[in-house]
């Protein structure tokens, strides 16, 4: 039994990769190429994603056609904003590799690198 989150990620990945609306059947068939999965399970998780606001859907004949609400890039940009934005609490929630710098600070940084003769390595 896979975790709910993993199946959610798999469904979103399918839809983002295809870049078009798809039915649960299509998604199940795609997942089945890699491992067996039950139609009802995928349908349930797709409904959960719809309820959470990740997917929209419209009827096509008997089946629902699912579409992601936002692109993968849009979510990525929102995450980056959350991680690197100027919110006050972020320091404890998300630990950066390095802070962003102004042009003058970058110049000082480059100067520090040059002073030690490592500039050529960059």
């Amino acid at each position: 039994m896979r975790r709910l989150g993993e199946l959610e990620a798999e469904i979103m990945d399918c839809l983002w990769t295809w870049g078009r609306p798809a039915t649960v059947r299509e998604i199940v068939d795609d997942i089945n190429l890699r491992r067996p999965s039950a139609y009802t399970t995928v349908m349930t998780v797709a409904t959960i994603l719809y309820d959470k606001g990740w997917l929209t859907r419209r009827k096509q004949g008997q089946a629902w056609l699912y579409t992601p609400v936002r692109s993968r890039e849009a979510y990525s940009a929102a995450l980056m904003e959350d991680a690197l934005g100027a919110s006050r609490d972020r320091s404890a929630a998300l630990v950066h590799f390095v802070e962003r710098m102004t042009d003058e600070e970058v110049a000082a940084l480059r100067e520090a690198l040059r002073a030690t003769g490592r500039d050529g390595e960059l």
Partner: protein
């Protein structure tokens, strides 16, 4: 004799003078984790003195049987020996100091935990596992890297960063974030934030909250250097710090990057054992001294 003025004076020295002493010395940059411990020893010492001063102020001339008594009063096991409003007030102040720290820490840690859980929920759908599967790659042109510490940690790098960094530089970035996660640095940051919340405007609190994050970055850098070259770490730092800056985050303290970079490029040995010993002992003494004073005041 009432010991309250001693404690207040002591607290003033620890809260105002001691930070300047630490800031002026060079050993913190050479032994960053020891420096973090020293900052927190000063913070603990200050809190203790404030609590003790409140207790002594509230029970003038009473027998204060040292720490034990103070602690018992603080946790409410024993009522202060004189009746009236003043002792109750002193006990309350001491209690507020203790409870305030715990509450501020819990609030900060709880909020950060919730923020991370929300972030991780989206990340797990949007991100892709990197080739070495030690990090999650986010589709984003801007070069950046960060981590979600705590339980179920994640290390995140943008595809822009993956494109700009060499394999060795990327592994230096991942190693740096792993150091944060393994060292549980987010809890240390929460403790620093809690102290600053309880004593806002206090120089010690201001410097502590400024210095501890920088020192933790240095400690993480040191761990990277055990496995990666100085050149790789410095290059990665430069690439990510100079990356296309998002609006609003432009002025976000790039000075720390410069300090870190200079430190990474100029190899320095750990602080001399004698210096480390002196700093550690000094910090411990600032904490223990008020406790001894309490005993003395109790006897006197």
């Amino acid at each position: 004799m009432n010991a309250a003025p001693f404690f207040l004076g002591y607290a003033a020295a620890v809260g105002g003078l001691a930070p300047r002493l630490v800031l002026r010395s060079s050993w913190p940059q050479r032994s960053p984790l020891l420096a973090v411990a020293v900052w927190f020893a000063l913070a603990a010492s200050f809190s203790l003195c404030v609590a003790l001063a409140a207790l002594h102020l509230a029970t003038p001339g009473a027998h204060l049987h040292g720490v034990l008594y103070s602690c018992r009063v603080a946790v409410g096991l024993e009522a202060p020996s004189t009746d009236g409003l003043l002792p109750a007030l002193g006990g309350a102040v001491a209690l507020v100091v203790v409870v305030g720290h715990l509450t501020a820490f819990a609030l900060h840690a709880g909020r950060a935990y919730a923020a991370r859980a929300r972030h991780r929920d989206v990340l797990d759908k949007v991100g892709r596992a990197s080739a070495c599967s030690r990090a999650t790659v986010l589709e984003h042109a801007e070069p950046a890297a960060y981590c979600l510490p705590g339980r179920a940690p994640r290390i995140v790098v943008s595809s822009g960063a993956v494109g700009l960094l060499s394999a060795e530089e990327l592994s230096a970035v991942v190693e740096h974030e792993r150091a944060h996660i393994h060292g549980r640095h987010h809890l240390v940051l929460a403790a620093a934030a809690a102290f600053a919340r309880v004593f806002p405007r206090l120089p010690l609190a201001r410097h502590l909250q400024e210095q501890v994050p920088l020192l933790l970055e240095m400690a993480a850098d040191d761990r990277v250097l055990r496995r990666c070259s100085r050149g790789a770490l410095a290059a990665a730092m430069f690439t990510l710090a100079s990356g296309e800056a998002p609006r609003g985050a432009l002025a976000a303290g790039g000075q720390t990057a410069l300090v870190r970079l200079k430190r990474v490029l100029a190899p320095a040995h750990d602080a001399h054992p004698v210096v480390r010993w002196a700093a550690g002992t000094g910090a411990l003494a600032t904490f223990v001294l008020p406790l001894l004073l309490t005993c003395h005041a109790g006897l006197g």
